[in-house]
């Protein structure tokens, strides 16, 4: 009877949720947002997402091979990086630049630190920060959503040859005969002309913006589902959004003609996607319960400060990167009090 009995040390029970399951679930939650981006912006958005995800996966595979780690693609985390990166770029972003962003994000933002679990910052945002600095024009060139024929043709800038400046899209946009298209996002219009886009449009995504940053409502639904699946720490997005709203509120109360309302702050730009899917990146956020709240409030309020007073239109990317950098420090400040002790460990 006791021929094959096994011995291991306790605990002998194990919850069955593993890292790859968590990562797969996050990918699943991102898919509706990707689908909406493709529906909004057409073939160009699809190619953009495929490029960033493909290059990110190749880079992960390449560095894992180089360091003799075996196949780390199986943990699925790099797919999240690729998809998130694609969602933060303008839909007509030249594919070769997107590939550069994906390579830099995974190589510099993740592989060099030692891969999954060791990266200090969110790799997708590292990649985006790099191309923001390298290609400032391309990354602020927006094209209209729901362009007719978006499933038949590509935005001209998409297929720019490597190392070339993007093909201009002005003539192409003019050919679409859209009324009132200014080529600016609602955030930019608010910032420079102090006109708020209707909240309903911003919330539902009927506006210009990055491929996946436009429908706050859809992002909210996907994020809530993920939180309900307990694959996401709900305290992070909630405190990011709360931080942003609380920071925006006094300015709006002082001068509502000049400053955006908290509602507009929450539903515009990349804040929603960033709060639910990027700030909540487990690896780069603090581990303690009180730490994540401080981290979230910091990111939310810093985003608004950059938006209102910085030179940039959108500040959530830098806010998260700074929050990531502060993560370990916040963690060590907020160590929980151990049972039976008065001091913190």
């Amino acid at each position: 009877m006791d021929k094959g009995i096994e011995i291991r040390t306790s605990p002998h029970l194990k919850r069955v949720i593993s890292v790859d399951k968590i990562m797969r679930t996050v990918v699943l939650a991102l898919l509706p947002i990707c689908a909406f981006a493709v529906y909004q912006f057409g073939l160009s958005a699809l190619l953009l997402l495929l490029t960033t995800t493909g290059v990110a996966m190749w880079t992960e595979w390449f560095f894992a091979r180089l360091s003799g780690k075996g196949n780390t693609l199986a943990d699925w985390s790099v797919v999240i990086t690729g998809l998130l990166l694609g969602l933060t770029l303008p839909p007509g972003f030249p594919l070769w630049m997107a590939a550069v962003a994906a390579f830099v994000g995974v190589a510099l933002g993740k592989a060099l630190f030692g891969g999954l679990g060791y990266n200090v910052m969110n790799p997708a945002l590292v990649g985006r920060a790099f191309v923001q600095a390298a290609f400032p024009v391309a990354i602020t060139t927006w094209t209209p959503a729901f362009a007719p024929g978006r499933f038949m043709e590509l935005i001209p800038s998409t297929l720019t040859l490597p190392f070339m400046q993007p093909n201009p899209v002005k003539d192409w946009v003019a050919g679409l005969h859209l009324d009132g298209w200014s080529g600016a996002t609602p955030l930019a219009i608010q910032k420079f002309q102090h006109i708020e886009a209707p909240i309903a449009d911003a919330f539902s995504g009927m506006i210009a913006g990055s491929a996946g940053e436009t429908s706050a409502l859809l992002i909210l639904i996907c994020g809530l589902w993920l939180a309900w699946q307990r694959m996401l720490d709900w305290r992070i997005p909630v405190s990011v959004l709360a931080g942003a709203a609380l920071m925006a509120l006094p300015f709006w109360l002082m001068d509502s003609g000049h400053y955006p309302s908290p509602w507009f702050v929450l539903s515009s730009g990349g804040l929603m996607l960033a709060a639910w899917f990027m700030a909540s990146d487990m690896v780069a956020s603090p581990v303690t319960a009180r730490g994540v709240v401080i981290y979230g409030l910091f990111i939310g309020s810093l985003t608004v400060i950059i938006r209102l007073f910085g030179g940039l239109v959108e500040g959530v990317m830098y806010a998260i990167l700074l929050g990531n950098a502060l993560g370990p420090l916040i963690s060590s400040w907020t160590q929980p009090r151990v049972y039976g002790t008065s001091k913190k460990s």
Binding site: M1, D2, G4, I5, E6, I7, R8, T9, S10, P11, H12, L13, K14, R15, I17, S18, V19, D20, K21, I22, A74, D75, S77, G114, G115, L116, G117, Y118, D233, M282, V283, A284, S285, P286, V287, T288, A289, V292, S331, Q335, P336, R337, V338, Y339, G340, T341, S345
Partner: protein
């Protein structure tokens, strides 16, 4: 209280008619209105208690040979007082305690001493044990001991007779009970916490004891109250056993300072520090004893045996064991003589298919045995037989820590297992203790249970603690 010889006061069958209905109503009422006292954090593993919760305690036949290790408790091993070839009667002392932190052993059956030698243990190393060949034809009535009334004895005499009975913590701790009755100098025990939580999955022996050995349990509580000079006793029971709470409340005489309270069903609610937190909202100071907050904690099984044995001045020779698990054909709760080999126990309940791990105690903190010749000892509350795990589950891929924080929200004493795990991987064992209070960890296994990266955190901490212990010992030796 009236004297009672039967081990089990049995009203076992599910009750029909009016009294059964009243009982069910009582339990239903409790379910709606009981409090939800608990501690911070913890986990909710699948329990499978329904497999055995309604199985009354049954007696099993004796194995042909019983193996009684001389060290079944924390402290010093007992010293044999029998010779090979000597015949012993059930209940007769066969080894005595020659130290305060030690307990004697009693013959669990009438028979003859076959040998005194090494025997396998769950922990691994073989230890000295007495091999007792059982006379199957002999009467197995306990003839040893005489009647006396603990109510009339002094606290000191009671404590002595608890040691003489060989009583240790039957919940799994195996710490000699009489030692806990003695508060350290300068400490006063005001509350006796009676642990009926049974938070380990699968186990239901304490549940059955509360239902079936209620009189013995209450008598044991009164004895312990007298010995510790505590003012009151609180029986803490997880709210997955509300029938036991209702039953106890109905049976506790109004004039006794005993209450039964439900606490939330959550692992590790049965750890004494957690139960004290839940019931009294007190925290045992780090590195301290429960007596530092004026509390002594005893398991319900220990007190039921105390109530049974002391009035007859008998010794501990058997205990209730839950035999369960996916690989067991007929799981149940059994009164098992100490020294019964696990193999015999599994033969009695039937093994279904192939065996994987066989765990003594519960699956969260219990030990997997390397051999089925390991005997049931005083601290074995359960034998859980699992099926072989599929290859891919055994070699679950270990991922790097992704800082998800699950372990921090699972750790019942609010350690930072994520950080401790990284320090352990870097062999920074001293830092683990100095800066992150590793020494407070009681290895409940919550962190390793929840870890999505499958990092064997509890195992890491066990190793780190033993290395730190060795280093400390080495350091002390150097100084002398």
């Amino acid at each position: 209280m009236k004297h009672q010889t039967a081990v089990l006061d049995s009203k076992l069958a599910p009750e029909a008619g009016l009294s059964g209905l009243v009982k069910r109503l009582n339990t239903g009422f409790l379910r709606l209105f009981h409090g939800h006292k608990t501690f911070d954090h913890g986990i909710y593993p699948v329990e499978h208690k329904e497999w055995t919760a309604d199985k009354p305690i049954r007696r099993l036949p004796f194995a042909d040979e019983l193996v009684i290790p001389l060290l079944q408790h924390k402290g010093r091993a007992a010293v044999p007082i029998v010779k090979v070839g000597q015949e012993v009667v059930r209940g007769e002392p066969i080894a005595h305690a020659d130290h305060f932190v030690s307990v004697p052993m009693h013959a669990p059956a009438t028979g003859v001493i076959r040998a005194i030698g090494l025997a396998p243990t769950a922990a691994g190393p073989k230890t000295q044990a007495i091999y007792l060949k059982v006379y199957h034809a002999a009467s197995q009535e306990v003839l040893y001991g005489e009647h006396r009334e603990p109510e009339r004895m002094s606290a000191k005499d009671i404590i002595q007779s608890i040691q003489d009975a060989g009583l240790v913590g039957l919940g799994g701790g195996a710490f000699p009970s009489h030692v806990k009755m003695h508060p350290p100098a300068g400490r006063v025990i005001h509350t006796l916490v009676v642990n009926g939580c049974e938070c380990e999955p699968y186990l239901t022996c304490d549940h059955r004891i509360m239902l079936e050995q209620t009189d013995a349990l209450l008598r044991g509580i009164m004895i312990a109250l007298k010995a510790t000079r505590a003012e009151r006793a609180i029986i803490g029971v997880e709210d997955n056993k509300l029938d036991a709470v209702a039953h106890l409340r109905a049976r506790i005489p109004k004039d006794l300072p005993i209450t039964a309270e439900a606490v939330q069903t959550k692992y590790p609610q049965g750890a004494e520090k957690m139960l004290i937190k839940a019931l009294l909202d007190l925290e045992v100071p780090a590195g301290g004893l429960t007596a530092d907050v004026g509390v002594a904690v005893f398991n319900v099984g220990t007190l039921a045996q105390m109530g049974e044995l002391l009035p007859n001045s008998q010794g501990l020779i058997e205990r209730v064991v839950t035999v369960s698990g996916p690989a067991v054909k007929r799981p149940g709760n059994f009164m098992v003589p100490i020294g019964t080999p696990i193999r015999f126990l599994l033969d009695q309940v039937g093994v279904d298919g192939e065996l994987g791990q066989v765990i003594l105690g519960g699956p969260m903190m219990g030990m997997a045995v390397a051999s089925l010749d390991v005997p049931v000892t005083k601290s074995v509350s359960g034998v859980v037989a699992l099926r072989p795990e599929p290859e891919d589950a055994v070699r679950r891929q270990v991922y790097p820590c992704i800082k998800c924080g699950e372990c921090l929200s699972a750790c019942p004493i609010s350690l930072n297992p994520s950080m401790l795990g990284e320090l352990a991987a870097a062999r920074e064992y001293a830092t683990m203790e100095e800066s992150f209070q590793l020494d407070q960890c009681f290895e409940c296994g919550c962190c390793a249970y929840v870890c999505p990266s499958n990092i064997p955190l509890t195992q890491y901490f066990r190793i780190a603690k033993s290395i730190n212990r060795d280093a400390k010992k080495h350091h002390e030796q150097k100084q002398h």
